[in-house]
């Protein structure tokens, strides 16, 4: 990543969409950039933080990151913020009024839609925000375009005094392609000028700005009609003409090289007249857009006949394997077999077990979920982060996951809305440090204030784990690794009103203590907070210890260690036996992948026959083989 920074101008670099945007942000003379990490947007700010001349920060949530960028733009600085699609849901309160004030310094907001849900709780189309907030939307189709459009977006933002949404998707953010880069052109801040009628959005003030927003809509649409970002590539096969944007554009060109196609790089407001003229040159028009039928709906409303989601899916990516059969069917042609006619059926995948993501070897969350999986008569509301994996095997320990910080409010609702039959059920909530600071604190305050009976497990691993271990106010480090004040979670929750005796800080590798603490606190009919305090194994704070191994002769096959869920523990042999009680049980004889084990000792604790011991490191490491 750091290699991006010193590259000279006119160099051709292999960059992801995120890296390309970062380079462009720097070259455009941006002075302030802020984000909260979220796949697939995270690398934008990570890379920006490696450039000099830009103030970069991890904000506590997306709304704050947008507000920081807004403030900087009000001060006449070029500013940038990035977020994943669900982040804009959080930030939208600021966005919806920002559209009334507009900006002075160029403001670009990159939103990364996780089309195909590689790492998200939903799939949503951020182009809606352009319609909802009356803002221009640019949609790059690869890294080079992401780079060019970002630079252009800053100029555009200043020309129209409007923030620009750069809509990306996973297939742009994380695809690497060649980018020819340029030089940085500094832009000094023009300074904040007092203008209450513009910057103070009271009802009276805002009311006067709304007509100006509508005027701006007209100007933007006129610009879209002639924008070089909206271009036509001619083709001789005029049976179908395509209108497309974003990564789908590349898939259209790949699949139908002979068809005429109109590319919308500046896709909101839609250049209706340009499309109307294009439609007149082809037999029929097909709109290829990921995810929702936004352009299609607007074309139809304008009386431009087209096909779209009636023949293409409204979910997931529109890759050639989706497009080619759909268009063949539309044209009444035989279905293509694979990308090129292969003279046989589209290849069928082999049947192989699923391989869902797992917790890391020695993850401090393993102890928590092992403990929770041993408890009965409980309901657990979960949250967003690595610990969402606790919903999977072998723990099956989460009952709900909705959105960042939602574990708190949902736990309170589960408590207050409980059925009579559930009166003895204990309600727990599991939340990570960063998610708690992002949006969980308010929920806990609500539980305290409204007398909820919830046991909160605050898993403090000092990092935003799932996105790669970024810092947060609980890490004591900033985006550059610099020292910052560190949140004291025990003091924080106490100040929110949790009783001191109901707050416990526990080492999650000490299973008996963890078990005892949780079991006692769920019995207490008021809010408790149990904080675990061991670092994520992927960050520098984590210290590896001597690995363990299994003495084969001592392993009795009880399987207790398997229930911990550590991926370094492997079952080598299964054996069915009948117990004296007559019950048939399956024994699981295990081994430990010594090369992966970091010696956390979680599996040692439930091992009754003491078959797990420190590995003899004088012998060569062995691979566990099945």
């Amino acid at each position: 990543m750091a290699a991006v920074m010193p590259a000279p101008s006119n160099a051709r670099l292999l960059l992801s969409g995120n890296e390309a945007v970062a380079r462009a942000v720097w070259e455009a003379g941006c002075r302030v950039a802020a984000a909260y990490p979220g796949t697939p947007s995270t690398e934008m700010l990570e890379v920006i933080s490696t450039y000099p001349d830009i103030y970069a920060e991890w904000s506590v949530n997306e709304k704050v990151s947008l507000e920081v960028a807004i403030g900087a733009a009000f001060a006449g600085s070029r500013s940038f913020c990035a977020m994943k699609h669900v982040g804009m849901n959080v930030a939208s309160d600021a966005l919806m009024t920002l559209t009334l004030t507009g900006v002075v310094g160029g403001l670009v907001i990159a939103i990364a839609d996780d089309v195909g849900l590689s790492s998200s709780q939903n799939e949503q189309d951020s182009r809606y925000w352009g319609r909802f907030a009356h803002l221009p939307v640019f949609e790059p189709a690869d890294s080079q375009e992401a780079y060019e459009m970002t630079k252009l977006a800053f100029d555009f933002s200043e020309k129209f005094q409007v923030p620009v949404i750069l809509r990306m998707t996973t297939r742009i953010n994380h695809v690497k392609g060649l980018v020819t880069v340029g030089e940085r052109v500094p832009h000094a801040a023009t300074g904040f000028k007092k203008e209450p009628a513009r910057w103070v959005m009271t009802p009276a003030g805002a009311g006067k700005r709304i007509p100006l927003m509508f005027e701006r809509d007209k100007a933007l649409r006129a610009d879209a009609e002639s924008s070089p970002l909206n271009l036509i590539e001619n083709g001789k096969d005029k049976r179908v003409g395509f209108v497309s944007s974003g990564p789908a554009w590349m898939h259209v060109r790949e699949s139908f090289p002979d068809a005429p196609a109109l590319k919308l790089g500046f896709s909101c407001p839609v250049p209706l007249e340009k499309i109307r003229a294009f439609a007149a040159t082809v037999d029929q028009l097909v709109v290829v857009e990921e995810v929702e039928p936004l352009i299609e709906t607007e074309l139809k409303a304008a009386g431009i006949e087209c096909r779209g989601k009636d023949i293409l899916p409204r979910q997931g990516e529109l890759a050639p394997n989706v497009l080619k059969p759909a268009i063949a069917k539309l044209l009444g042609e035989p279905e293509p077999q694979g990308l090129k006619p292969l003279g046989r059926a589209t290849p069928v995948p082999a049947s192989v077990f699923p391989r869902p993501p797992t917790m890391c070897v020695a993850c401090p969350h393993l102890g928590v979920y092992y403990t929770l999986s041993q408890l009965k008569n409980i309901t657990i509301s979960g949250d967003i982060g690595c610990y969402t994996l606790g919903a999977g095997h072998p723990w099956n320990a989460l009952d709900t996951t909705i959105s960042m910080g939602a574990s708190m409010g949902i736990a309170l609702g589960l408590d207050k809305g409980r059925a009579d039959a559930d009166k003895d059920k204990r309600i727990l909530a599991v939340i990570g440090d960063s998610t708690f600071l992002h949006m969980g604190m308010q929920g806990l305050l609500d539980i305290v204030y409204n007398g909820g009976n919830v046991t909160v497990l605050l898993l403090d691993n000092r990092a935003v784990g799932m996105t790669g271990g970024q810092a947060n106010p609980g890490s004591g480090k900033g985006i550059h690794g610099q020292e910052t004040p560190r949140v004291d979670f025990a003091k924080l929750v106490e100040s929110l009103g949790v009783k001191k005796e109901r707050i416990h800080v526990v080492d999650p590798y000490q299973l008996p203590v963890l078990f005892k603490t949780i079991r006692e606190e769920i019995k207490v009919p008021e809010v408790s907070v149990i904080i675990t305090d061991q670092p994520c194994v992927l960050i520098d704070d984590y210290k590896k210890q001597q690995p363990f191994e299994v003495i084969d002769d001592k392993c009795t096959g009880c399987g207790n260690c398997v229930d911990v869920g550590c991926p370094a523990i492997h079952v080598m042999r299964r054996e069915k036996v009948v117990k004296p009680s007559g019950k048939e049980v399956e024994l699981q004889f295990v081994n430990i992948e010594t090369t992966a084990c970091t010696g956390c000792g979680l599996c040692v604790q439930p091992c009754a026959p003491e078959a797990i011991v420190h590995a003899d490191l004088t012998r060569p490491m062995r691979l566990v083989r099945h």
Partner: protein, 208 residues
């Protein structure tokens, strides 16, 4: 090579094995020769031991970054079952280079699913050619399991539309910039990979 003059290479494995890095090095080699290139992953939460499939397409001009099933020129598998999972992406009769290492996921250890008995046989039964070798064992013999990545790259070197030296240069360039002490051992790992592929080519001929 597909008809469009674009070479499609699919590299698969699990999160943490260096699949994405290997593909990036391949891409750098292709770019050094003046090709256009795009590289993309289907890597949902890959850092957590999930499935990773990394697509590399290079040629005079690359549009879509994604390789479609049935069109890969070469499949490189860093893990046995993962190679089987993705083998239908190969063009008919295509070549598979695979690490025979079996990385068993928790769902198999928990007894919820079975690990395939003989992935190589299943892949061959589909009409693909297979060069198989134990890259992890080779890497461990060289003293560092992380060299498995370079072993796999070495194995690919004889099956690319450019000379092996170009790929070796791309690998060593990375290490000379960041970890100069690792240059020589990576050169050795690269050659070990080439030798493993050559031996596997021989055994493939015997099987055939």
């Amino acid at each position: 090579m597909s008809d469009s003059n674009v070479t499609n290479i699919l590299v698969v494995g699990i999160g943490g094995q260096g699949v994405m890095t290997a593909t990036e090095i391949l891409a750098e080699a292709a770019i050094a020769l003046g090709h256009d290139a795009k590289k993309t992953e289907v890597a949902g939460m890959a850092q957590r031991g999930g499935v990773v499939s990394s697509h590399l397409r290079f040629g005079p001009k690359v549009l879509s970054p994604q390789i479609m099933a049935g069109t890969a020129d070469l499949l490189v598998g860093f893990e046995s079952a993962e190679t089987l999972r993705w083998c239908h992406y190969l063009k008919p009769g295509g070549l598979v280079l695979m690490n025979t290492a079996r990385l068993v996921p928790p769902v198999v250890d928990l007894g919820l699913y079975d690990y395939p008995d003989d992935p190589i046989a299943e892949i061959r039964a589909r009409g693909y050619r297979v060069h198989a070798f134990d890259a992890m064992a080779i890497a461990l013999d060289l003293g560092d399991i992380r060299l498995g990545n370079t072993v796999m790259l070495g194995a690919m070197a004889g099956h690319l539309p450019f000379p092996p030296e170009v790929l070796l240069d791309a690998i060593l360039k990375r290490f000379s910039a960041r970890k100069p002490h690792m240059v020589e051992v990576n050169r050795t790992a690269f050659e070990a990979g080439r030798a493993a592929d050559a031996a596997a080519t021989h055994s493939e001929e015997v099987v055939a």
